[in-house]
């Protein structure tokens, strides 16, 4: 921990770069996962359509998807000879965002569906009868389900900020470009530089704790 503090206070530009990159990539992937996952989770929770149960089962399976497998699939899609190779995204931060988005989305969908399903079944009808339009209804329901929705953010962010397999596979762990805290830990460990690896590990834990603490504070705020 002492090394971590020394590293952090030492003004190491590379370290600050890694921390910033970690937050930016995982933050963007979480944001995208929320934008797609929340409406999808809502539709799965409230919709009545053929294949809904199958879809929920697939989402629940996706919640436990190994990141390295996701990394492999995204790599196969983005690699130069892959179907999306022309996009030139392999070994870029965008590729890492895509892989992390794929990992986080099922978690967000699953948590959202569960939290919406936990609301009283007649609440949407009540809001409709009171005159709430579609968007206003979604907003009020989201407020009602905010404990679950923030749990979805925490689960999604927590899963991707701490994963290494997918980031390493599609990002390549390029120094100054795609190296994030997890891949940096792997690098330092393989070099035998254990104190630095441990220090980075402590930083990662601290970062995850700080973000989750912030979200927990928002989550536990009383109804306004």
């Amino acid at each position: 921990m002492g090394d971590a503090i020394v590293l952090l206070l030492g003004g190491d530009a590379e370290l600050y770069g890694i921390i910033g990159r970690t937050l930016a990539i995982s933050g963007m992937a979480t944001l995208l996962a929320m934008m797609v996952g929340v409406p999808l989770g809502y539709a799965l929770a409230r919709g009545r359509f053929p294949g809904r149960t199958l879809l929920l089962g697939a989402v629940n399976t996706g919640m436990g998807m190994p990141p390295v497998v996701v990394g492999l699939v995204v790599w196969l899609l983005l690699t130069r000879s892959g179907p999306l190779g022309d996009w030139g995204l392999i070994y870029t931060r965008e590729a890492m965002v895509i892989a992390q988005f794929v990992i986080a989305t099922p978690l967000v969908v699953g948590f959202t569906a569960a939290s919406i399903q936990a609301l009283p079944a007649q609440l949407p009808d009540l809001l409709t009868s009171l005159g709430a339009g579609r968007l206003r209804k979604l907003w009020i329901l989201s407020r009602e389900a905010r404990l679950g929705l923030l749990a979805a953010v925490m689960a999604g962010f927590g899963a991707i900020v701490s994963e290494v397999g997918a980031s390493m596979t599609v990002g390549g762990n390029l120094r100054g470009s795609t190296r994030v805290l997890t891949t940096a830990i792997v690098t330092e460990t393989s070099r035998g530089n254990l104190p630095v690896a441990l220090a980075l590990g402590c930083l990662l834990l601290g970062l995850a704790f700080a973000v989750n603490l912030l979200l927990t504070l928002v989550q536990q705020r009383r109804n306004g």
């Binding site: 009283p120 007649q122 609440l123 009808d125 009540l126 809001l127 409709t128 009868s129 009171l130 005159g131 709430a132 339009g133 206003r136 009020i140 407020r143 009602e144 109804n223």
Partner: protein
């Protein structure tokens, strides 16, 4: 504001849930849609409230066709059978309902205070709505719908799921509450007493079809068929080639204009009086014995008379 439905049909999963040729609810009236569970009462209310789209037919509110209009454009207040609330206090729930109708803050505050006073929920206004007793929750549920002062108020089983004492109190209070806030009221219930106590008009719904409709005295004294008569509480028996409905409590031992032989099955001791239960021509009859009357023996036959009855059909 009057409400009318024309050629209304609603199907779900290939089954016709509701099929009503025509029905009108007069402006300013209170109508009870009365029928057994599964008769389509709540579906009718949801169709009028805009929570379901009919398979065919039209709904008019105040003469305007609203069949395809969203709920927000129908000017309807709706109290659901289950008292459902958003998180937070009762005040917040009432305020939200008024806010969704775009009322200015000063008006909202006054309306909330008035509804709370008239519906007897002032003491719990700042308590969490989700922690109310069943009776308080039902009053808050009604207050939220009534505070809207909508031209049409829809109440789905307003006295279901509450304890007996609270139900009796609410049954007493509800007509006053409706008179204060509601213009046209349509309530659905499977409870005969509720229907007669709260409404001035009655619609009897069985298997999605209207069996009888009109002022309650008219419907009560002229049941069109056996099913309706039984729903209205009559014991339906045949005598002299005609079918009559005998209201509960109108049977007495002895001879009369309409007399029957009852085979006594058992005598039930109710504590302060006795009931003789038996069969008349395949129909179960419950006869309350008056003090001093001879107690019939199970298996025996007694002559009983209907002191009052109505023609059925």
């Amino acid at each position: 504001m009057d409400v009318a439905v024309e050629g209304l049909r609603f199907e779900r999963g290939g089954r016709t849930v509701l099929d009503i040729a025509g029905l009108a609810f007069g402006g300013g009236s209170t109508t009870a849609v009365f029928g057994p569970n599964g008769s389509g009462k709540t579906t009718l209310l949801r169709l009028i409230g805009g929570l379901e789209r009919p398979s065919a037919g039209a709904i008019r509110i105040g003469g305007t066709r609203v069949t395809r209009d969203p709920a927000s454009r129908r000017h309807v207040g709706f109290a659901f059978q289950e008292a459902v609330f958003v998180g937070g206090s009762v005040r917040r729930n009432l305020d939200l309902a008024l806010r969704l109708r775009d009322l200015p803050p000063a008006d909202r505050e006054a309306r909330v205070a008035e509804a709370a006073r008239e519906c007897g929920i002032e003491p719990v206004l700042d308590r969490s709505a989700r922690q109310l007793s069943s009776g308080e929750a039902q009053r808050a549920n009604l207050a939220r719908a009534l505070a809207l002062r909508a031209p049409v108020t829809l109440l789905d089983e307003p006295l279901t799921g509450i304890d007996r004492v609270t139900r009796v109190q609410l049954l007493d209070d509800l007509p006053r509450m409706l008179a204060t806030f509601a213009a046209t009221t349509i309530l659905v219930t499977h409870d005969r007493e509720e229907a007669f106590r709260l409404a001035d008009h009655l619609v009897v719904l069985v298997d999605g079809r209207v069996r009888a409709a009109g002022p309650k005295a008219e419907v009560y004294t002229r049941p069109p068929d056996r099913a309706t008569a039984e729903l209205l509480g009559y014991t339906v028996v045949g005598t002299g080639g005609r079918t009559i409905g005998v209201p509960a409590g109108a049977w007495a031992l002895g001879n009369g204009e309409a007399s029957f032989e009852m085979v006594v099955e058992r005598v039930v001791d109710m504590g302060n009086h006795l009931h003789a239960v038996g069969m008349v021509g395949g129909v179960r009859v419950d006869l309350r014995l008056r003090p001093g009357e001879p107690v019939p023996s199970p298996g025996g036959r007694v002559l009983i008379a209907a002191r009052a009855h109505v023609p059925v059909g």
